[in-house]
Subunit: 400 residues, 2 copies
C-alpha cells in the first residue's frame, strides 16, 4: 500500500517537520494552512483567487453545509468540490465543534448528539456514523471523526468522561468506514430523484482521529494513546484555542504530541495567530485551520508580519503605503491603506475581499516560509525572529 | 485642434451611431456603458475585474466622494484615478443629482445649492463653480455641469424656471473652465500639507452640458438649444428615468435629440434596462450609466438576454445551469445557479461579486454587440430581436 504521508525533512532543534500528504484531489505540502470555507465559500474570495494565493487545501464545515444547503443539494451537485468549483483537496470537519458552539438545545448521549440548528431551529441527530455518512456525501478528501469539544474551563471529571466517549465515537467512525469502504452507496435516505446517479465513495478519503482532554496533561496523553491505538490516517488535536490561556494551549499540544506516530500527519484544530502557527510547527504540528484571517478581515483588521492593523483607524486616511510593504498579495500590489480605509468607512464590499486576500496571503506565505526554513534547517531562527517581531494587539482572537 | 469625437458609422434606418471618444485616459468606443463607481468603487468588483470585463470608462459620483472621503483625501492621493487604481477614463457627475435625491434640507438659489449631507449632516454649499473645482480635483476625464434635476411629476412652470437656471449654471461652469484652463491651481483651500504637490489641471478634461425640461417637449427643445448654444464637448440628457413612464422618457429624449449637434457625444443619464439602452441608441444616444446591474445584483437579481432572474428563488436550488447559457462572464464560466442561490441564502458575500460581474458583463457585452451591429448595418434587426425577446419582470427599476 502506497503511503499517503511522506516525511521530507525534520529539524534538529525542534520537532518541526516538512512533509507531503497525498489526497484524492492532490498533494498538500506541510506545514500547511487551510482557509476555512464554512458554507461552501471561503468568505470573500473565489476559488480562483484561492488558487492564485497558492492555497493547497481548504476546509468545509459539515454542520453548516448539513443545515444549509443540505445534503440533497450537495449530493445533486455531485459533492462539495463540484458545487463550489474547488478542485483541490478539501478537509471536512465532523460538525461536532459547531454543534457544541452554535446549535441550540443539545442533548448528548452515548449514541450521538440531538440538537436544533441555529438557522431555522429544525431538530437533527448526528451520531458518529451519520457524521461519516454526511462527510462521504460532501466528498472531502479528509474526514474527521465526531468528537465532543468541551468548553473552557472544564471540570476534570467531565473532561475525562468526554474524552473517553470521544474515543468510543472515534472507534465507531473507524468501524463505519471499514464497513463502508467496500459498499460505497450511502445508507442515508435522499429525497431527490438524482440520488441514484451519485454514489459517494469512501475509498479515497482519509480519516483523522481527534485527541481531546481539555487542559489536563494526563487526559491529553490518555486520549492520544487511545486514539492512536485505533490507527487513523492522521491525528488532530481538538479542544484547543477555545478560550484557554496560550500556555495551556501549548501544554495541551505538548502533552499529546509524543504519543502521535511520526509517520502520520498532525492537525492542530482552529489555530491560530501567525506566531502560534510557528510555535505549533515547532511542536510537531503539520496542518492548521483558522477563521482569524477571514473573520478579522471583515472587521477591517489586517495581519502583518509585525502584528495586526485596524485599517478603520483615522491614522490610515492619508497613508499611501500598502497594508504591508513588499507584500505580494493582490491588495498590496494595487491599493493603499488610505483607499482601503475609505472603503471600510464607506462600507464598500470590495474591501472585505481585499483584506481577506491579504490576510490569507500572509498565512499561506508564512507556512510556505516555514516549509522552506525547515528544509534549509533555519526554522528555529525563522520562528524566533518572527515571533519576537510580532506584536499582539488588542483584538478578539477567539476562534469560532 | 484635434477632434476628440469621431463618428465612424451611422445607421440608415435609425439614429444609431458608432463613434470614438478620445479622453485623457484613453479611448471610449461608443455606444458605451459606464459602470457606476459611486464611492470610488464599482460595488463588488475590482478595477482589474472591470478591465477584464472590457469596461472602457467608469463613472464617479462627485457628491459621494465630496462627502466621503472628502477632497483633501482625493487630492492627497493625486486624484480619483490613482486613489482607486483605475487608469482608464472616468466621467464625474456634478453632484447635482445626489444633492437633489439624497441630501437633506436643500436650499436652492440662483447662486447654488446649500444642503446637509446624508452621512453626518454637515452643511455644504455647491455652486456651479464649486462643482467644477471639485471635479477638477477628482481629476476625471469628463466633467458635468451642475444642473437641477427636477423630480417627476413636475409642474410646467417649475420645470421651465429650473431648466433656465440650469442653463445659467451651465454658462457659469463653462466660464469657470475657460477662466481656469490657463491657471490650473485650484482655488479651494485644502488642509493638508501635500496640497502644493498636486496641481489639478482642467486642460485635459472634457465638459458636458446637460439638457433638462422634465417631460415637456417644448422645454426639452428650448433647453437643448440653449445648452448647445454654449458649446460643450458633449451633451447629456438629464432628468430622465426619474419615475416617469417609459414613453415619456423616450419622448423627452426624442424632443431634445434633433437639436444636439451630430459631431458631439450624447449621454443619456441614469439609463436603463437592457432594452432601454438599445432604444436610446436607436434614438441617437452614445453613452449610458446605470446602477441597475450593480444594485440589482446585490438583491440577487441577474439580468439575462431574456429578462431578469431572481436567483433567491427556490426554483434554482438544484439548477446546474449557469445564470445564462453561453455567457462568457466569470460567474457563468465557473458557477451554477444552484450554488449562487445557496450563496445568497447563506449570505455569502462572494455572491454579490458574482452576480455583479454577470450583470456588468451583460451590459458591456450588449453595447459591444450594438457597436458591431451598427458597423454591420444590422442594428435595427438586432434591436428588434433583443427587445422582443426580453421580458420585463417585476423588479424595481428606479434609478438612484
Amino acid at each position: 500500500m502506497q503511503k499517503n504521508f511522506e516525511l521530507l525533512a525534520s529539524n534538529r532543534y525542534s520537532k518541526a517537520r516538512r512533509a507531503r500528504l497525498t489526497t484524492a484531489h492532490g498533494v498538500v505540502e506541510t506545514p500547511a494552512f487551510m482557509p476555512v470555507g464554512t458554507q461552501g465559500s471561503v468568505k470573500g474570495v473565489s476559488p480562483r483567487e484561492l488558487r492564485e494565493l497558492n492555497a493547497q487545501i481548504i476546509l468545509g464545515n459539515t454542520y453548516h453545509l448539513f443545515v444549509r444547503p443540505g445534503l440533497d443539494v450537495i449530493k445533486h451537485f455531485s459533492g462539495l468540490h463540484k458545487f463550489m468549483n474547488w478542485d483541490g483537496p478539501i478537509l471536512t470537519d465532523s460538525g461536532g465543534y459547531q454543534i457544541f458552539s452554535l446549535a441550540k438545545l443539545r442533548k448528548i448521549t452515548e449514541g450521538g448528539v440531538e440538537f436544533q440548528n441555529h438557522i431555522d431551529g429544525a431538530r437533527a441527530f448526528i451520531s458518529p456514523e451519520i457524521a461519516m455518512e454526511i462527510q462521504v456525501t460532501l466528498g472531502g478528501d479528509i474526514a474527521m471523526v465526531l468528537d465532543e469539544c468541551v468548553p473552557h474551563p472544564c471540570e476534570y471529571d467531565y473532561a475525562a468522561q468526554s474524552a473517553e466517549m470521544t474515543t468510543r465515537w472515534a472507534r465507531r467512525c473507524k468501524e463505519w468506514k471499514k464497513a463502508n469502504v467496500e459498499r460505497p452507496t450511502s445508507n442515508i435516505q435522499y429525497r431527490t430523484a438524482e440520488a441514484i446517479t451519485y454514489q459517494p465513495s469512501t475509498m479515497n478519503s482519509l480519516l483523522f482521529g481527534i485527541v481531546q482532554g481539555a487542559t489536563f496533561e494526563h487526559l491529553r496523553k490518555q486520549s492520544a494513546q487511545a486514539i492512536v491505538d485505533l490507527d487513523f490516517d492522521g491525528y488532530a488535536i481538538g479542544g484547543v484555542s477555545v478560550g484557554e490561556p496560550e500556555e495551556e494551549m501549548m501544554r495541551a499540544v505538548e502533552s499529546a504530541e509524543p504519543f502521535l506516530p511520526p509517520d502520520k500527519p498532525r492537525y492542530a484544530m482552529g489555530l491560530g495567530t501567525p506566531p502560534q502557527l510557528l510555535e505549533m510547527i515547532a511542536r510537531g504540528m503539520d496542518m492548521f485551520d483558522c477563521v482569524l484571517p477571514t473573520r478579522l478581515a471583515r472587521n477591517g483588521t489586517a495581519f502583518t508580519t509585525t502584528g495586526t492593523l485596524n485599517l478603520k483607524n483615522a491614522e490610515f486616511a492619508l497613508d499611501k503605503r500598502p497594508i504591508e510593504e513588499k507584500c505580494a498579495c493582490p491588495a498590496c500590489r494595487e491599493f493603499s491603506r488610505g483607499y482601503i480605509r475609505h472603503l471600510i468607512k464607506a462600507e464598500e464590499i470590495l474591501v472585505l475581499r481585499l483584506i481577506t486576500l491579504h490576510n490569507l496571503h500572509l498565512y499561506l506565505d508564512l507556512v510556505g516560509q516555514a516549509r522552506e526554513a525547515i528544509e534549509n534547517k533555519t526554522f528555529e531562527q525563522f520562528r524566533k525572529a518572527f515571533v519576537s517581531g510580532y506584536k499582539t494587539r488588542d483584538v478578539d482572537l477567539t476562534n469560532n
